[in-house]
């Protein structure tokens, strides 16, 4: 039958023409020419109505075969052409990956507040909560209630800013907060840390400031020992510096504690070998501490025959300086962006 031969030709021509089509436009044109309304194939379908009843299924089957063959070939070709196009375009696209990125402004906390947060977090897990109290203080709270009566030699240990108001000073340490906390919570057990700004009548130099933060700690209860002080502060040092850090406790003197101790930690820069950071001693002085003096417990409302306590105090600026090898304390309140942006 002629029509079957005709379909063979349609298939053969169609596939040959498809092979020649190289891009998506050519494929679209090919589809119109070989599978569109006016294509030979469609004409063949149209012509089937003139065929005899016997011929019709045979031609129909064959026409469908040709259609599927052409459509299948088109689909394959289309995928191949698209793949080739993509590859061609990828081959032409290169970034200089070394060019800098577009920065978004990055916000940061002040370095000292970052250190304070670390300190809060460590103590929070040991059950110490934050308690804050005023900076402009009465000298009773700053001295007298802390076992530093007027004219006591220990008052010389602090260079105090006095205000124009009688008996009003800028607190020289966060220790007045011990009395505030005890008076508020007595007779409960106490575990607090007392952070905040303190003031000293001191020339501002690379090593000393007239304003700086302290974090005081206070634990009061019926069973608190010097051993607990050592354990708690050593745990703290291990968390802040490194899990293996060694600590040592030296006898010292603070009027509001007895016995008193300075805690040194092994220098984390030289691991105790001695370096410029630890001034060759292998140890860094980190905090002062001691068992709360009976007089202080009494002023706080507690009976030193029934409860005991320990207290400690540290300087977050000093700790920040040690951790980041900062050599000038004045950077902190100068707030030069070239300093702040490094944290």
């Amino acid at each position: 039958m002629d029509i079957l031969k005709e379909l063979d030709v349609i298939e053969k021509d169609g596939l040959a023409a498809l092979a020649a089509a190289e891009d998506e436009d050519a494929l679209a044109a090919w589809r119109t020419a070989h599978l569109g309304r006016k294509s030979g194939l469609m004409a063949a379908f149209d012509g089937m109505k003139d065929l005899s009843k016997e011929e019709r299924p045979q031609v129909g089957r064959r026409a469908n075969e040709v259609k599927q063959a052409l459509e299948g070939a088109l689909e394959k070709k289309l995928v191949a052409v698209r793949q080739a196009t993509l590859e061609a375009s990828l081959a032409g696209e290169h970034l200089d990956v070394s060019l800098p990125g577009r920065a978004l402004p990055l916000g940061r906390l002040h370095p000292v507040n970052q250190t304070l947060r670390r300190i809060y977090a460590i103590f929070a897990e040991m059950g110490f909560q934050v308690y804050r109290s005023r900076e402009v203080e009465s000298d009773d709270y700053n001295f007298t209630f802390l076992n530093i009566p007027a004219h006591h030699p220990a008052r010389d240990m602090w260079d105090t800013f006095h205000t124009d108001r009688e008996g009003v000073i800028l607190r020289t340490h966060t220790s007045p907060g011990q009395i505030h906390a005890m008076r508020e919570y007595c007779p409960e057990n106490i575990r607090v840390i007392l952070p905040g700004m303190v003031y000293r009548y001191e020339q501002v130099t690379t090593r000393s400031e007239m304003q700086f933060n302290q974090v005081e700690g206070l634990a009061v209860g019926p069973n608190i020992t010097f051993g607990d002080l050592k354990g708690t502060l050593t745990d703290f040092a291990r968390r802040l510096f490194n899990p293996d850090v060694r600590t040592r406790f030296r006898a010292s003197h603070f009027p509001f504690t007895e016995p008193s101790a300075e805690m040194d930690v092994e220098c984390f820069v030289c691991m105790g070998d001695g370096c410029s950071v630890c001034k060759g001693t292998g140890w860094l002085e980190i905090l002062g501490s001691g068992m709360v003096h009976p007089t202080v417990l009494r002023y706080g409302g507690y009976d030193p025959e029934k409860v005991s306590g320990f207290a400690f105090g540290m300087g977050p600026e000093r700790i920040t300086m040690l951790l980041h090898r900062i050599t000038d304390i004045r950077h902190f309140w100068r707030n030069d962006v070239r300093f702040l942006e490094q944290f």
Binding site: R132, V136, G227, T234, P259
Partner: protein
């Protein structure tokens, strides 16, 4: 305090203890050895020490004891001599200019020979002629035609003292040929004495600590004196007017002494301890003070007699009259307060008790009879006196920290005996001892349970007693109770039984060793747990602002009114409420507690103005306001935010070069408030003087003002060294913000049905604030209008003058169904109608 190790050996055997170990143990026990100066003894090896290291070691081979056999003139120089010297091995000729050898020049062979410190070629010593402490190495040289390769040393060259007038002469019995380091090598510990261990501000005290720490015997000094003169009674009197302030006054008398320099070893000891030798009598007073801690004063007895008109003199201690004038040894004249105690006689006052003597009665070169005073003074009163006199002396240092009255007679006894030894003379029998207010040494009881409760260690009663006995406490044990009486050289143990107990526990812990106390974890019940709401809120605010790209700053809270006035335009008077000001500022520009955070912020913006093209800062801190409730100020928490410069960070591509403006800061503030879920805040035009009058708003939560936001007033901007870009700033009362913020918030259900989105633009009069339009749309839209967002503001000719177009993107949303077009159309019509009616708006086609 400077503590020569050789001096310690008078009282405690240090055999087998290295200097390093000594310093370490003392430091751990609270006598911090900050610095050690080696004077001949070998320096500890390595670079790692608990203390600063100074000084030099004397080479044992090259520096030895030698004997000068003969001093001969130098052939070519009058001021030099040539010594014939034996170093134990052979003879040398040594060239020296030491003036203390001149008397021996040309005297022929010396018998006995002079013992000296001899340094051989190649030795490292201090340069005696250089300023300060310069090391030099001894080399061969020819001086005025005579070869020199070694030398006899001065104290300075050996690092003993600054003495370089002559060479150091050693006692006759110094063994020739012995390495000098073995003979007299020393080290000086510089120990920080804290107020609680003031009793240790002397050699004996430090030795006692060492004996206790190392479990060695303390050799007690002798306070006896050989008295061969007439009884002292009747030769002078003592009268104490105020025993509270002068509990004891002891006097002794030595006659026929000869004023001369102290023995060389005494002078060297004093110099090592930092004290300048004067003469044998004055040196005794200083020596005894350094030795056992009792300051002494030597009077010229004959002068006292003269002042008494030839009669028996009486020393009187009395209160000064207010305003009374007195000239002290240093030539200063002081106006005195009425609580100050003076030492006087019948003729008048001559010294400020416990602090400084007077010139009239002091020992001179002509003195032959000495009245030696050892007194005791109330330390608080001494401190009060020092406080206004602004004076300091070694004696007042000790008296102001507390000296036990028992030391007074010991000091005088020891002083008289040393005077007899160093100055000759005869001591009169006995002492005149006025002791109207005897000190009672407290007896404290404690138990092993106290030790366990306070220190966390279990000790037996006998162990506790033994530790205390090592510090000279008198102890007894009855069952479990230890009674300990404080030794009569310390006044720091309280007579309050509870405080006294703590005082003893400190001593037990120190001597037992802090190192030996085990580390334990808190076993006590946790106290009630509480939040610190204010701090937690601050921390949330910090995070919300940092998340939006702002850098936190922390500034000085001390300022000056002038500094703070710069935050206001010229002519605007600051709030008249007084500042909290300092009586003693350290710097003249920071003497007041700040009242404004904005002023602090502007200072920091100025500092960084030229460093970055974009600055965005915030600070959380306090301001200090005078309070009506009392002298203590209100400390108010505040937040200040400021941004300035380019909106986008500079980059190599893209980024508009536009400056940040009011709406950038408002966006940050909205981000903050949104993060705090504080949604109902109104922005109303305001009149804060620091801000541009047309570009500022106050923020209201309900009727309460929580903050202010605006562009810095151009006049204020002009008063600061800032870049040209406007500065946008906001200040918040943090406490008000916290109270306004809801403690918790509820979330909206995520819609299950699609929203209908629509844009509407309205033409309105320029004067109608966008906020009012927004509010009206929201109000009319009700629950179905889930979102309204302004996306365009347009002004143009086709709208006409005084008109603007505001375009809004509206989101319609129902919780339970998809909205129909009809429903949306109805709502739109309602909104448009309301805006037309109430605001005269027209819908823009």
């Amino acid at each position: 305090m400077k503590v020569p190790v050789s001096w310690l050996k008078d009282y405690v055997d240090l055999d087998g203890i290295s200097i390093e170990e000594l310093a370490h143990r003392l430091t751990m026990a609270g006598l911090e050895s900050e610095e050690i100066t080696f004077v001949g003894l070998p320096l500890p090896p390595g670079d790692k020490h608990d203390f600063k290291v100074n000084g030099i070691a004397w080479d044992r081979e090259k520096i030895v004891v030698a004997e000068v056999l003969e001093v001969n003139p130098h052939p070519n120089a009058d001021r030099l001599t040539l010594c014939r010297l034996n170093d134990g091995e052979r003879e040398h000729t040594v060239l020296t200019g030491a003036p203390n050898l001149f008397p021996y020049k040309g005297q022929g062979p010396l018998d006995p020979p002079l013992k000296v410190a001899y340094a051989k070629e190649g030795t490292t010593l201090y340069d005696g002629h250089a300023e300060g402490w310069q090391l030099m190495t001894l080399k061969k040289a020819v001086i005025r035609g005579v070869e020199s390769y070694s030398m006899v040393c001065s104290e300075k060259e050996l690092g003993i003292s600054e003495e370089h007038e002559g060479i150091m002469l050693l006692p006759e019995d110094a063994p020739t040929g012995m390495p000098l380091a073995d003979y007299m090598g020393d080290a000086v510990l510089d120990i920080a004495i804290t107020p609680n261990i003031a009793r240790n501000a002397n050699i004996l005290g430090v030795a006692r600590e060492i004996a206790a720490l190392f479990g060695r015997e303390l050799q007690q000094p002798s306070y006896d004196f050989t008295a061969e003169g007439a009884p002292v009674a009747g030769q002078f009197g003592i009268k104490i007017e105020n025993p509270e302030l002068n509990p004891r006054f002891v006097g002794g008398l030595i006659r026929d002494i000869e004023i001369r320099p102290s023995p060389d070893w005494v002078q060297r000891r004093l110099r090592l301890a930092g004290q300048r030798p004067i003469n044998n009598i004055v040196d005794v007073t200083n020596y005894v003070m350094l030795d056992i801690g009792q300051p002494l004063h030597a009077f010229d007895y004959d002068e006292l007699v003269r002042r008494a008109g030839g009669k028996t003199p009486t020393l009187i201690t009395r209160m000064a009259k207010k305003g009374e004038k007195l000239t002290t040894l240093d030539g200063e004249t002081h106006a005195l307060e009425d609580f100050t105690v003076l030492v006087a006689d019948t003729k008048g006052s001559h010294s400020i008790a416990g602090i400084m003597g007077g010139a009239d009665t002091e020992v001179t070169d002509k003195t032959t009879n000495v009245l030696l005073e050892g007194a005791n003074w109330n330390f608080i009163n001494i401190r009060k006196t020092l406080g206004y006199l602004k004076m300091n002396s070694e004696a007042s240092y000790r008296f102001s920290r507390g000296v036990h009255p028992a030391m007074a007679s010991r000091g005088v006894g020891r002083g008289l005996e040393l005077m007899r030894q160093w100055a000759g003379g005869t001591i009169c029998k006995g002492l005149v001892d006025e002791y109207p207010l005897p000190y009672e040494d407290p007896t404290t009881e404690l138990t092993p349970e106290d030790v366990r409760r306070w220190l966390g260690i279990d000790l037996k009663p006998k162990d506790i007693a033994a530790i205390l006995a090592r510090l000279d406490f008198k102890t007894s044990i009855k069952g479990k109770v230890i009674s300990a009486t404080a030794p009569d050289h310390r006044v720091d143990i309280s007579d309050d039984p509870v405080i006294g107990k703590a005082d003893l526990l400190e001593e037990i812990a120190r001597i037992y060793g802090y190192d030996n106390i085990p580390e334990t974890r808190l076993a006590d019940v946790l106290p009630p747990q509480r939040n610190n709401a204010a701090l937690e809120f601050e921390e949330r605010v910090r995070d919300l602002l940092a998340r939006q790209g702002l850098q936190e700053i922390v500034t000085y809270r001390l300022t000056s009114p002038e500094r703070e006035a710069k935050r206001l335009p010229p002519g605007v008077a600051p709030d008249p409420k007084p500042y909290i000001t300092l009586k003693n500022p350290i710097t003249p520009d920071r003497f007041a507690m700040r009242k404004s955070m904005l002023a602090s912020m502007l200072e920091i913006l100025e500092r960084n103005a030229r460093l970055r093209e974009r600055l965005a800062f915030f600070e959380i801190g306090f301001v200090y306001h005078d309070s009506e409730a009392g002298p203590l100020p209100d400390e108010k928490p505040r937040l200040v935010i400021a941004i300035t410069g380019r909106r986008d960070l500079p980059a190599w591509q893209g980024g508009a070069e536009e400056n940040l403006d009011y709406y950038d800061l408002k966006g940050i503030v909205e981000g903050l408030l949104g993060g705090l879920h504080l949604n109902a805040v109104r922005y109303e035009p305001s009149q804060h003087p620091s801000f541009h009058p047309g570009k500022q708003a106050r923020l209201l939560a309900g009727e309460r003002q929580i903050g202010t936001i605006g562009e810095l007033h151009p006049a204020v901007h002009g008063q600061h060294d800032l870049g040209p870009a406007p500065v946008l700033a906001a200040t918040f009362a943090l406490d008000a913000l916290m109270e306004a913020a809801p403690p918790r918030h509820e979330v909206q259900e995520v819609p299950a049905f699609p929203p209908v989105l629509e844009d509407l633009a309205f033409i309105l009069d320029e004067t109608i604030p966008a906020g009012q339009v927004q509010a009206l749309i929201e109000q009319t839209g009700g629950a179905t209008l889930a979102g309204v967002r302004l996306f365009d503001v347009y002004r143009g000719e086709q709208l006409g003058a005084g008109k603007k177009s505001l375009a809004y993107a509206l989101t319609y949303q129902a919780e339970d169904r998809t909205l129909t077009d009809d429903e949306v159309a109805k709502l739109r019509k309602k909104i448009v109608g309301r805006l037309e009616r109430e605001l005269g708006a027209t819908l823009r086609a």
